[in-house]
Subunit: 330 residues, 6 copies
């Protein structure tokens, strides 16, 4: 089975430990992007995964691709050209002090991708899944167009498509609104991650509960077979509670609630969930087990430095099965 993801990968730079930006004189490097994080996580689960993006043609762009390869992601479809490497600076908080991100991704090499840059037929040939998020169409018209071409190709080839439709309103700088762009993209989706507020905001689809709202979304977009969301309670920057639910049009499957008291890295926890969910859908044939696997994957990601979930299947299953004891493995 092979997963294809599409989106920007940024260099993340963060002060060591919980130092503030103003205190540090070195920055730790990680690479990450919401879609690539899904690919990396699935590669750790043993799936084939390829990420499609566009990097600047210099040593740092090459390093970003090297990061993906190191973690088992196929980089043969990555393009190189002009533009910057997108960056973000992350200051990690603790307790009542929030983590902070300074984005510096404007005019990246990825944002300069063209509508026809990618030969989607080739890329998607033999794939079992295609995943995208609401960040990509926010970055440029070219990125939105290229994504649409990918989704349509996947549909044509009968490949399931998933989307995390969370968009960030301040990213949309190229003259279009998410409301103009997102519906056509969502049209081709099999699985959608989002809340009822998002459904209402983006598509004008309303419902008084997750279930109702989900049913309405499925009506609007008949390809959609699964709707999912996570619920996070942030007690402090170091302590969160997390649960997930998955709706197949009939039943809402709910995961246990994970009480996460020693947060190491909050970034990419949603992507870890999505990767777990896709893994479950592709291999378990059991939606309850699938949502538990996704939620456990997300919970584990909170303990792992960097953007991507490096947990193994057996680690995720241990937690999904309710063992959070963290007992030393010799």
């Amino acid at each position: 089975m092979k997963l294809i993801t599409f989106g920007e990968v940024m260099l993340r730079l963060s002060p060591p430990g919980v130092d503030r930006f103003t205190q540090t004189d070195s920055l730790t490097m990680h690479f990450g992007g919401t879609e690539a994080n899904v690919a990396v996580s699935l590669a750790q689960f043993g799936m084939q995964a390829a990420h499609v993006t566009r990097f600047p043609d210099h040593a740092l762009g090459r390093s970003a691709a090297g990061y993906l390869r190191k973690y088992g992601v196929d980089t043969q479809h990555i393009q190189y050209g002009d533009g910057r490497l997108g960056l973000y600076f992350l200051e990690t908080g603790a307790g009542s002090r929030a983590s902070q991100i300074i984005y510096d991704r404007v005019d990246s090499a990825f944002a300069r991708i063209g509508a026809n840059s990618i030969d989607w037929e080739t890329v998607l040939s033999g794939a079992s899944w295609f995943h995208w998020t609401g960040i990509t169409p926010a970055l440029s018209q070219g990125a939105a167009d290229c994504l649409l071409a990918g989704i349509q190709t996947a549909n044509r080839l009968g490949i399931p498509v998933s989307a995390d439709i969370v968009y960030r309103s301040n990213l949309w700088q190229y003259g279009k609104t998410p409301q103009e762009i997102m519906p056509a993209l969502t049209q081709g989706c099999t699985l959608v991650l989002g809340s009822k507020n998002l459904f209402s905001d983006l598509y004008g689809v309303v419902g008084s509960t997750f279930q109702e709202s989900g049913r309405a979304l499925m009506k609007r977009f008949p390809n959609v077979r699964y709707i999912t969301d996570t619920k996070r309670r942030s007690i402090s920057a170091s302590h969160n509670q997390l649960a997930a639910k998955l709706f197949d049009g009939e039943t809402v499957y709910k995961s246990r609630t994970h009480d996460i008291k020693s947060i190491t890295d909050r970034i990419g926890t949603g992507d870890a969930y999505m990767a777990g969910l896709i893994y479950g859908l592709l291999t378990f044939n059991d939606l309850q087990r699938t949502v538990e696997f996704g939620a456990a994957a997300s919970a584990l990601k909170h303990t792992i430095p960097g953007d991507a979930n490096l947990a193994t299947i057996s680690e995720v299953e241990t937690l999904a099965n309710g063992d959070s004891s963290g007992k030393l493995k010799r």
Copy 2:
């Protein structure tokens, strides 16, 4: 508005993380001093702040001044001369293991300051506040005399004066007791941070409650308009609870209690409180809001490496308003 602080600044040296002194082969540098910490914190809040001290005239003394400037504190009144740079070594504990400090500050350049070393008229000209602590007069007769001249000048210029009167008995090595020295200094204060035990011990002022003791102190020192104190419950080196109260002669204003579960750095949390309080008194005209702001500032400091509180106004206000969720800020 401009704050003036006066006191020793030391180089702090600590093993990385929670390593013990005997384990480490490198030491992380910070600079700090209880009064300068107040200046640094207020500079982060956007106030003008100048610190007055005396450093050895070598690269490390210059570095200490550079640290203050970096964080926005005016160093033009700092003097340079003979003597050492005061040091302290800090081993950070965790859980039931206490943090430990080895002081190495004897005979510092600051302790060699003279009674007339500082031209207080110039330094205090245009100032809105003057702050000192009980550490300074403990260090030498010269420091005590120089401080007294500063307080008297502030009084003459009508500048409010605050003091954290916590003294450390083992510091007083030059032949005077705190009981001989502190009353004349406290005489000139507007705001005093201390407990009823301290008031009794230092001034023979007694009262069965904080309120009564405070009233008695105000009677003894008619300049004093505010009395304040914090109450800390130490559950472990990593988990403290903290609340503050402020008394204006009539009402005791009490802050919420902060449950601080992920302590990064316990040093300077009292100074962070004092800075928050001064900020509130100078800008809020609301004593309840002031004591909440001070307590929240102190709580946040526990999450910030180093001696000084680098939190911003908006971070403090978020917590003062009861939001301790630490949600990621993008």
Copy 3:
């Protein structure tokens, strides 16, 4: 008073912080071995301690000995020769993510020790205690034989002998089972650390409670005067609860339960307990105080990086007396 310990010392290599093996490009070095950890801890308590082992005759073997000397352990009886330095790689977990160990100790210089390599008469002359564990006889026939010679010499010289009989089944690769080897070694012991399951498994000694099982063990091995064990509840990799009990054939002495919420390093916590217990037995003449001291030593070890407990007597006593407040010591 002088303690002698015997066993392998390994180089431990771990990624910084909670990084995964696949993320790191540097490894932090510690040295450790279950028996040597006991020696190091007792040396911190001011006792004389000597460790007997065999290292490869190269710079890393010499470094391992240097580590022991640094912490006050006498290394004059250590032998140097062919074979590798045993290694283990430790990935430190957090929260629900377990720590992981990859052992790489096969064919170490220690495993090549011979039955007669050590002149036990000289080594044990003047000693007050001899300590061994079930790891040593698992490594090779030579190690088992050499250990047996040591125990028999200690018995002949009237020196008390303690053993942590936890063996690891996957270590026994030289053709013998623990059931064949352990009884003769246990024969010479005064103090045994183990559970009733272990007693049953290793010696066929059964009992429905710790007390009954202990009585049966004492019957089987008449030299044994004390039986002890710890009970750990692993809530997460960062949060454990720990208590200990000590049985003298008549009474079971139980320590308080320590709630350990900020685990820094889980390795060597059993060895820290054993060291505390030996210290108590040799100096307190009070079994309740002894078991409390041992349990507090173990609890403190969880906050100390590395394999060995570097806590001082006064730190252990503070916690043994119930003060877990971790208040800053100036």
Copy 4:
């Protein structure tokens, strides 16, 4: 005496030691900009120095200003607003492997400065010198216009102006060529750093020697009193030879040639020269001594990590006087 400099300050990010970009997972931070480097160096020499620039209004922009203050540069005229913090990535070479820079400075907060953003009358009031370089007008029309206003104000106030006219052709992206922009800026200069090739290229001023070319430049721009240049022979990335010359219209003063065999950091060595030269012109009244001081400052900079020369006057004078022995100072 007070120096004013104007230009962009970037965050520099470099792998530790001589690691390649593709090898590192952390980046060391420095801040630098060719004009600010001059200000920092002169502040180390004890001069007053203020830098004028524009930073993004976030923690990293504030950190950049903090860096300048730490090293004694006045930051009161710095503006904060929209746009990015300019970055550059530096890989440090060794031997025959060249150092490499990846610039990432497009659309910085500084490039968005407006023609009238700076109140030059206030900024330059009381100044003894104004310094700019050919990088600034390359960045945007606004930067070029704002600089011109500064030069004209300096001229009106009778303040000497210096320029390093090295421009980088690939920077000029806003539709103007250096040939269109530089002459009007050079018009106001007292001191110009450049080669005869540059004079010919930028101004069409030709001469067969440095002297002749310099005389022609002075004819074209009558304000110019001094022309200077350095000559570098790059034997390897670790070994350079450097000499400087200064022409006052009559005599060419030449420095000794420095043989620099242990290059630590090649960046900012030209700025270090310029700072030394300005210092000499303002204080020595001896052009030979001035050019020696400048060349020695530049040579020393090669041994100092970061963009700016942190050498002291006495260190520079020791080397300017021919003592390159590097003898330990106790």
Copy 5:
């Protein structure tokens, strides 16, 4: 064009900078193996490269493969199983202090490879070159047999084969001598790296000069078309001189001599030469240019941390063309 390499990859652990083994408490990780180093270098030159080896099936074995993928080497033919990850500890010297290696590679997963473990037909299908070294057959009979199978398959498929025949006598521990094993392996080679002493020692082939000895070797092994060697003069651990020669049976092509004064990392410099040579033979059709390219690649490797040459084609060509100036590239 695609290169296949076969051999062990070890984890290299070294103290930071030039610290001695006994001084350090952390170790920097690199991965390397003489054959894999060739693959990594050729991947940097843009060639396809796949490495064949066998790793332990644990996180560190997976990390070793991740390292190869990161640098563009195909890892699909790598096998995972029992055995250790081979290690070596490297202390980097300076000046007159030599670097030191402690090998710890006995009984590695690679040494346990079987004669028939690799499906060479598949692996070599479509390959343009196969490379091996004298280290591999030294490790175990299985490794030697498996290698022979590879060479024979390459011969059958008409793929050129190169060998660096340097063997290390102390590695041969499985009962065979290099003289028994190497001739059959050399039989299949197109290109041999070795000295006349080696030819005499291994094959009894003698000649009074490199040329004569080379001719004799070609007579003995008619497949061999090229013989090559490097000549190093070690002035100190920090300063070497290096030249190479290549013999095609008629002419000896000699490279310039590189004077390498700032050695960063001496390891893998021979592999860098071999990679350069293979690249040249495959692409240049010019033996003089080829030997210059190889020698320059080797010289550059001395400036690059780690085992493999990460230089680009353009960097190597600059140096091969005689430009060793190391001028900053912006």
Copy 6:
């Protein structure tokens, strides 16, 4: 054979690499003292060595003793008490930038040693050599008196005594001059390291050459059998030349001149020479070989981080025999 040394041991704190004091935010720890450095070096040569000093009774004082033990120096005679741990801050230079030391050793625990603090009979029992330097009597009257008692005891027991008589004039702060104190101490010496200028300055002993001056010193102090000195040419902070000579009253034995081009750490190179010399005198019975061994030891020390020479006998002999090639040892 057993060596006894006596003197202060300081904690050395230095910025990483060649960073300036004002740039760093961490300090690397080493311990060192001119006499203890000799003990550490001789312990690496396999000799027994014990150091006598006085440390503060806190964790850092204990760490200093741990450092000595780690490197094989016996610490049983070390005393613990009041006073500070002496410190020095070292900034490492490069090229023409000199290294700089800021001493911070006033009022150390060692300076508070008493005339009768040490039971010299016990300490020196069985010793083969006693070594001191001119630093010790500079620190306090107590240190000078205690040293005199040690020398006199050594004389009484027939133990050879060596001295490095370099004093630092600015250290003598307790009211005595070196001229008052040094002669009585030198009286008991067998071996003196010093120059003819020092002999003239300290003892009024004059001679126009090293030889003549040495003869005059031997006349003045009949116990003295050997006089030695080193000659250093400082070409830069990174490049020195070094030679040594040894005079036995008849012949001057001169070592080869070492050209040291890659200086890592200049501190303690004189102590390394002295250790080599003592080793040679005690074991070689060949003065030419002895002076070569000493000079080579000193040359090697320049490549080793920290204060003490960690070179082995075989490394020193390789260089003493003229092999400075630094060839990799596998």
